[in-house]
Amino acid sequence: MNLLEQSECKPLLEVRGLKKYFPIRSGLLKKVTNHVKAVDDLSFTVATGETLGIVGESGCGKSTTGRAILRLLEPTGGEVIFQGENLAALSPNEMRMKRKDLQIIFQDPFASLNPRMTVGEIIEEPMIIFELYETSKERKEKVAELMQVVGLKSENSERFPHEFSGGQRQRIGIARALALNPKLIVADEPVSALDVSIQSQVLNLMRDLQKQYGLTYIFISHNLSVVKHFCDRIGVMYLGRMVELAPKNALYEEPLHPYTRSLLSAVPIAKPKMKRERIILTGDVPSPANPPSGCTFHTRCPDCMEICKTDKPEFQSMGDGRYVACHLYNQ
């Protein structure tokens, strides 16, 4: 199956020019003086059944992207087209009904589960809200089934979240997301808080569920080896913009954007004494409130040219499903 072709013929989700600006207020009257451009003009598509990875360092806007797609944060501009319908234009009530198809798994399994509800209640709640089943008995059966699917004992449904370990809590979060049979799941750093041995359990579970239910994932992570393992296509973000988007093997074998190159070379690899060239970036990520002119990466870029300081590079297609925003490829 060629995921690329598939993504071009019938995307499940299409993001066009998505923007999310956070106002900065200052002074006595709290006037809006500037904006943090957390997500600035982002466009990509997600095909049915694929996993799109979004990577980048802290503050690059990857989580904001996930939330703006689901309208957990109202987008400042752009369109989010899900099955032919623009989510950004729906009324809050219509959007709420849409969330049946679009679910999210959060990073912190400690903060995203209500500590006063039992696990059974947590998983059942979405079914009550969307009136999925007629009787409480049917719902309870579904809860038990979901708990088994994610590898929890169904007799533990009367327990509270604090009685479970981090990995088990993440499984609860996954069961809750699955309760409504969603089509798309945004997974925002789902394994970052977990130890490696638990991380592999959760990743395997997510892959099983994808096969079983035909799920589509947007997988947000800062961990490049996890993303390589789990995703079909990967988008790299820097300071609110996507700098490169490519099928995973192409991206890891031949990264085009200088930022992608240095990011990949910075990952420590569990192979001692392996020789490789490392590109160490100097300096820190600039503030998104006051991003550099032209290409936002030019202040740290090893291949910076004059044009990079003044002109913003277009996010252009390089063929084979690859996209890059860099003046190096403008000839």
Binding site: S225, K228, A270, M274, I280
Partner: protein, 317 residues
């Protein structure tokens, strides 16, 4: 240089005392970088706090010795320990945000250490602080020295922590997850800096981390901990090439490999036993695919395999 012998550390809890470190032994040789790896709760941080004499009030060392150049640190008084800490053995912590004092300038925090441990006067100490900041690659060191921690980014704060730790030229640096809170590109900068400083000053580093990639890049020797015990000790290349203990094998198998395609990752089933309820036999037996009867009945000792490798597993009896 540092030898930990059969160290036992216990914590007081509402349900009585629990043993968090149970018979931890390993040694650190001069000039090497030793990695201590393991998952959350395995006791790697408690080991480092025991060495530093920085255990919380609810914890105490109930057995064993920590020999530093032949002297037992466990028997040291608070005053004696204060003379060692910072001067002989320095530590950097995971959270550069919380381990710097927000109400003192960066210079004042470095100077405090220098004034306590050396005969420098204030002016010399400030000069020294600026030098240290330059050494760890902080731009505008003359100005930064009078700034407060909140004015710096995470990577810069970790550099300040390293400058502080290095300011009295310690012979051993204990680094507890020094790059875990940082982004990969910043992590690469900090690891590079640590390597460079080590070459310059012939310092010994004990690096505590859960990231096997960092271990592979930084360390000469590795100690793997599980549930409060050392389960394997080996040279770094041997550990990655031929891991001996089933837990190490599982741990290495669980990390996604960037070079090969795998549909599913290897997993270690189950979870770590809680410190209050350790099984009688091997602590890993419940999750081990190779476990046999003896594993459930008798706790294995740390077997010496005679090539610098040690493994706490009955398979190597």
């Amino acid at each position: 240089m540092l030898e930990i012998k059969n160290l036992q550390t216990r914590f007081r809890t509402d349900n009585g005392e629990i043993t968090v470190l149970d018979g931890v032994s390993f040694q650190i040789n001069k000039g090497e970088t030793i990695g201590v790896v393991g998952e959350s709760g395995c006791g790697k941080s408690v080991t480092s706090l025991s060495i530093m004499g920085l255990l919380p009030r609810t914890a105490r060392i109930t057995g064993g010795e920590i020999l530093y150049n032949g002297e037992n640190l466990v028997a040291f008084s608070k005053d004696q320990m204060r003379k060692v800490r910072g001067k002989e053995i320095a530590m950097i912590f995971q959270e550069p945000m919380t381990s710097l004092n927000p109400v003192y300038t960066i210079g004042a925090q470095i100077m405090e250490l220098v004034l306590n441990h050396t005969s420098m006067n204030k002016k010399q100490a400030k000069e020294h602080a600026i030098q240290m900041l330059k050494l760890v690659g902080i731009p505008r060191a003359e100005e930064i020295v009078d700034e407060y921690p909140h004015q710096l980014s995470g990577g810069m704060r970790q550099r300040v922590m390293i400058a502080m730790a290095m300011s009295c030229s310690p012979s051993l640096l204990v680094a507890d997850e020094p790059t875990t809170a940082l982004d990969v590109t910043i992590q690469a900068q900090i690891l590079d800096l640590m390597r460079e400083l080590q070459q310059k000053s012939e310092m010994t580093i004990m690096l505590i981390t859960h990231d096997l990639g960092v271990v592979a890049e930084m360390c000469d020797r590795v100690v793997v901990m599980y549930a409060g015990q050392v389960v394997e000790e080996a040279e770094v290349e041997k550990l990655f090439a031929t891991p001996k203990h089933p837990y190490t094998v599982g741990l290495l198998g669980s990390i996604p490999d960037m070079d090969t395609e795998q549909e599913y990752l290897f997993t270690i089933g189950g979870t770590v036993p809680s410190p209050g309820q350790m099984p009688a036999g091997c602590r890993f037996a419940e999750r081990c695919q190779k476990a046999f009867d003896k594993c459930y009945e008798q706790a294995p000792p740390l077997f010496d395999l005679n090539d610098g490798t040690k493994s706490r597993c009955w398979l190597y009896e």
